[in-house]
Subunit: 508 residues, 2 copies
Amino acid sequence: MLDQIDLTKKMDKKAYKERMEEMMPQLSRLQRECKELGIPVMIVFEGFGAAGKGVQIGKLISSLDPRGFHVHAIDGESKDEKLRPFLWRFWTKTPEKGRIAIFDRSWYRRVLVDRFDGVTTAKELEYAYEEINSFERQLTDGGYVIIKLFLAIDKKEQKKRFKKLMESKSSAWRVSEGDLKRNREYDAYKAMNDEMLQKTDSDYAPWTIIEATDREFATVKIYSAVIKALSDKIESVKKEKERKQKEKTAQKAESTKPSENEDTVLRTSSLNSVDLSLSYTKEEYKEKLEKLQNRIQELHGELYQRRIPVILGFEGWDAGGKGGAIKRLTEKMDPRGYQVNPTAAPNDIERSHHYLWRFWNTVPKKGHIAIFDRTWYGRVMVERIEGFCSKEEWMRAYKEMNDMEANWVHSGAIVMKFWLQIDKDEQERRFKERMENPEKQWKITDEDWRNREKWDQYEQAVDDMLVKTSTTYAPWIIVEGNNKYYARIKVLQSVVDAIEKRLKDEEE
Amino acid sequence: MLDQIDLTKKMDKKAYKERMEEMMPQLSRLQRECKELGIPVMIVFEGFGAAGKGVQIGKLISSLDPRGFHVHAIDGESKDEKLRPFLWRFWTKTPEKGRIAIFDRSWYRRVLVDRFDGVTTAKELEYAYEEINSFERQLTDGGYVIIKLFLAIDKKEQKKRFKKLMESKSSAWRVSEGDLKRNREYDAYKAMNDEMLQKTDSDYAPWTIIEATDREFATVKIYSAVIKALSDKIESVKKEKERKQKEKTAQKAESTKPSENEDTVLRTSSLNSVDLSLSYTKEEYKEKLEKLQNRIQELHGELYQRRIPVILGFEGWDAGGKGGAIKRLTEKMDPRGYQVNPTAAPNDIERSHHYLWRFWNTVPKKGHIAIFDRTWYGRVMVERIEGFCSKEEWMRAYKEMNDMEANWVHSGAIVMKFWLQIDKDEQERRFKERMENPEKQWKITDEDWRNREKWDQYEQAVDDMLVKTSTTYAPWIIVEGNNKYYARIKVLQSVVDAIEKRLKDEEE
């Protein structure tokens, strides 16, 4: 894409002034509208060194309400960031609804500067484009606007600017060895940039090339691109709202329509053929438990030394025994090395982000274990069944969650998901027991009984989930849970097996 | 995905009969509805050998009107298919609107049987998933329904079935050496299938796993999946039609809205900075022409021997000189080795397919040259400007066309695109000349004059097109066209250079 551009473009001061006087208040107004409509915006500045990213960001924000945006300067990865999956630092920087995040360099570092400098490994590069495209797709599918600006200058102009910067002490530090090298090898670096533009220019997050030789021209083009993207989004959000309003009215009229036919006979997963009679006696349990807990304690140290992160998700029927299993799993672990993240209905802050944001936030550091008591899979269970998200949203979610887990695995993590299976009778027994036991009464609410009435719908959702998201790299393990002893041992044993396998694989 | 399924599922004859009696007429009705609504449908059968694909296809079509479907049995590539890009055989088999194409094995061969047998090279495998996903996305974005069924049986069951087939002379031929090998190495082959399912299970074209141990169960599940997919699509098409109808009414009210702001100053491409004064004298022209034409004649033979296909697209302003350039390019070429494909407004048959279908149909064989006089880029020029396609459609098209060209390049082709640039004055001069010359009058119509009035809009569209679709692997070459001699030589020279470069690269 960089071959067909004309870097000699200019704009005279008068034309510049006229245009800016029109566009600056326009941009301010659009920012307010985005805030009102709850539209989150991400603006990415990429391009050649000394193309003027800093100056242009300054000009752009001069029209923005400072309470509504944040500028992120993206340098090489910090020590803390190196311990997390590549996209973690960007997921955690995705703005809340109605806010603007501006990136001075971005996730594209990985395929540009870091690639050029050999920081990005060949293996990482293999996944990088796929991960970037998936990241942007997930965000835009989730209502985000992503505006990507690429500031271009040619080799000669760049050299001239570097020279000028180096002439003054106050600015010489801004030109690095790397900058000079990329100028000397301009064509090679340009080819990387061109490949990047080709591979990541999409209908949902397109690139705009900014000819940056003339600063005034560049500013006007940037303003114009941002204004266009925001106006388009605002218009489409408004239309969508209207449409939904109309549909709501229409739906009320036909609300007698039966719910989707949930055909229990044709379900795919092995959920209903698991042997729930599997059990251990108390003695067997105690013996195995001790052995496994000791083993996990050892392995936890191994993991820490080898910097392998572990992510364990727990899902299952209400009263399926998740809490008990997690307790036995962690009982002898060093508390500094693991964290249990309970997942409840999202709070206000979580709700104003992408639904996966909160899970990215709690991704464990390398060498640490993160345990999720209920997980991101709520999207395709409770949110699906209660209608908290649309059909398109939960259908899309399988791939989104597979991609997220793949990201984690690519960064070196062990990812496992447990489904604690009990039958309907066992659930009833446990519910009643809880109600009768004053110490456990808090554990049972009216909602639990209401969910129980939707058992069939949940079964369908669980079935879809297990089949669609059980991957070779992040498998589901179905735990026969009618007997709590059996379930707890199976969880422990599975975790031990997976870690041992991984350690063995690494040795080979 | 194959780990979480229960292959012991069964259905008794009575339940089977009851369900089929209900579903068979339902499927017939849905086929008729698809026909009426012009919905094209593709049903893919994949799965393990002897899982019963043939039998199940037979059962499925027993409810279909035979005039409305076609079954494609996909074996290894034929000689003719080997000479074309991988997806060519499937693009050419995409059904017309309202028709159903059923695939007994499909484009997934490449990542399954052909991968297992080592027919697919490592390099091909690298692109295969990306190409498959892009293919399915383009089709479903274009209104197609793709139903993908994966028939699973386990190793033991497969062995039993193979044995039974081999016992009788009349069926023994159906079990190949490859089948037996895949049974022996069932786990390795299963892992490939599992990877395939993970990488290609999307919201736009999801997989349905069919437990195929029990034939009755499988039939019912297949019917049920097809019925569900078709009903969903029919419903959404109907809703979309209603919505569009309403919007149309609404739009009429606000039709005074001005057209999108086309900001000429901020355009990105170098289109307006090309030097249109470049020219050759008649003598220079004649001399160069002869040399280049002789050279291209030689190179054409080289290409044929080395089986390199060449695809040349020509676009440009009306009266820009496309015809003259193509004539000079091909004048001395062996007519058996090239084909000129003029692209006019699509005919009825073309209109009832995906917009890229007709270009896939004319992809050249290896060693041949295909020249397109106007191209697939009509989508982002005339169709965009005249509103023949929606904004979403032409915005998506840049990537679709880049992907298509990448497919061709992956199969070994040289792909080049020429834009014949003239200025508005020169066009007027040529139009007038045509009108005055009785021999050339047929070349000029009222439409040409009307298009001329939209010069600015076209300029914007051309600008976007050049920037978004000029890739390293399939570049645009802007040809300074005010002087016809210069333009013709530049085209010839560029083709010669590209072929020579390629031949040199291959030698290295």
